[in-house]
Amino acid sequence: MLKRIAARVLARRRADPATAAKPGATPRARGGVVQSSLAGHSALGLGLGALVYIVCLSGAVAVFADDLSRWEWAGTPETATLAPEVVDQALAAGLARAAQQAGGAEKVTGLYGLLPRPDWPHLAVRAFTPAGAVTWRAGADGVLADTPSDAWTDFIGEVHMELSLPGVWAGLAVGTVGIVLLSLLFSGILAHPRIFRDAFALRLTGARRLGLADLHNRLSVWGLPFHVAITVTGALFALASLMILTVAQVGYKGDLARAYAPLSGAQVAADAGPQPLPPIALLQAQVADPTTGAARISRFYYVERPGTKGQRILLDMTRHDGLTQGDRNYFDGEGKLLAPLGFLDGPVGMRVYGASLALHCATYGGLPVRLVYGVLGLALSIVTATGFSIFLARRRDRGRPLPRLERAWAGVTWGVPLAATVSAAFTLAPDLAREAVYLWSFWGLVAILPLLSLAAPTGERASRTLRLLLGAALVLLAGAHAARHGTDLPAAALVVDLVLALAGVGFVFSTGLAGRRARTLAAQANPAP
């Protein structure tokens, strides 16, 4: 029966003059699309490859923000739970300090509390004033430290989300990088006509270009669902402000607040009269009960216009064990629940928005999901780096090498992780653990290392030198961190130290200066008689 249907279809195709008149038209057209897709894919990757790489790699690191933060705060005793009254006192103390520093309570525009939970057993209070944000960490007793501190983990998150740029430029730059990555994914599929047939071929032992191409294609094909999901949701968040601005101009006569209203939650009218912060236990008690088996944890707390009658309070609270774990609940100045934002029970759009946040930030499955995200995020970074390297290898194979670009790209590929490691080392020196130091050390090295790499005789030599430096820096960082905290080191921080040290050793071995590869290289240099 099936054979008969197939025969009929074939006969019809042969009889169709549109197809019969152009024999071979389809493969030729397909060949043209493949060639032009490849050209577009290369142009895009070459143009913005370095920025895409920085966003991808910093994202793969930032997914472990909780774990890295515990490593960074290893000197502060951990506590997974604090009495609500203790949290209230810490928030009030933070507000009082910020008001004193800013010259009046009315100058404190926002107060943010990062609350303790099993994944992140610390308390921190951050206040926003016209002079900037200031953060105090609390000890296990909930008492704020005397001096404020800047977290390196937050800095890496800002590199990923804002490329350290100010205001609307941050969203535009990162959003554009996201769109470029999305377009690279699309054009990559179009440029690969045997995407499925070749899905398992991995030949790393042959020609360099073939190995790079196989690695690039296999990592991108199997990671495609994750890479598309993360890129689309990332671009959505980065471009949100720009899109709301466009919608306001086009559809709401420039009224930004009106355009943003459906996503900004219940509002409270501003009133400068003084009002203390309501007890957190009062807020939590008004949030609906969780679904069976779900934890009831508040991850953060944010107050607009704190200390006034017109303060608007946002309390995050988990009450579900799905992709979306919790909702953002809004309260008025006296602490009366107004409405949740709707991540769990709201309109479809809000539920999709909440799920997208969880999907992008890996907030739904604990450490196992973060580890998987780390692997897939690292894979995306490798895809970006190898894409550029394939272009360079192809040029070399065609007899038109670009030696300077080869060396500079080695400087980018290994310079970015090295810069991140060096900037992280400043967390060990309390006087230097400042955002400005992280900023200048990271971006300074990201800019300088590709230039310094130009002094290397070849791209391969630049790559080996930087990998050696990266490996040594990681081992030194882990060792210095463990030595600084000694026996007080929490288990989570110890695991991070071990991972850093092992990664460092791996990079040192990859240079061929130790192990079997070193012996092979030595034998090649001094062949046996």
Partner: protein, 190 residues
Amino acid sequence: MTATMGFLGGLALTVLGIVLLRRVWASATAPRWRALPGWALIAAGFAGWLAVADADKAVVIGFLAFSLVGYGVVILGRDRRRRPHRAPKAPVAMPVEPGRRAWVTFLRGTARTLLAGPLAAATGMSVAALVAVRAGGMEADRLVAAGFIGPIGWGIAMTWALVDARLARVGLLLPLTAGAAVAAAWLSRV
């Protein structure tokens, strides 16, 4: 217990499905439909993940497992034959491009950059604004839908501008789409 069984079942079905795909795709002559059982096993694996978590979380975990198992099978099945690391014996000849003046190439490159950059962005944003303002349903739903349509539309427009050899076609259709979307949204503004 159910969750453990679901986890093991989901993982086993995903592994089996991917191994089956590998066998089929390794054969140059195998017809395409032979891959269907592999895909069916992977799809069935999602039933296992549903026993581990709620539907939304289970689907995401299923896709994560698909990617990880795929990486695992590729790495385990990698070509281990030792080949000398060497450069090609002779430089590969460059494909001959049709004769084109340098300034034409430069102009086409500039035009393509403008089309793939600002014009593609304007098109994506305009279509997103149209959906946000004019599509049916609740405002929040429209805004979030527009939030997804904007980047995806921009990405597709960028890809098209980079891939299509006929720049005039792209140069005509992208501004037309953007203009029509803005006009339609503008007419129904509140």
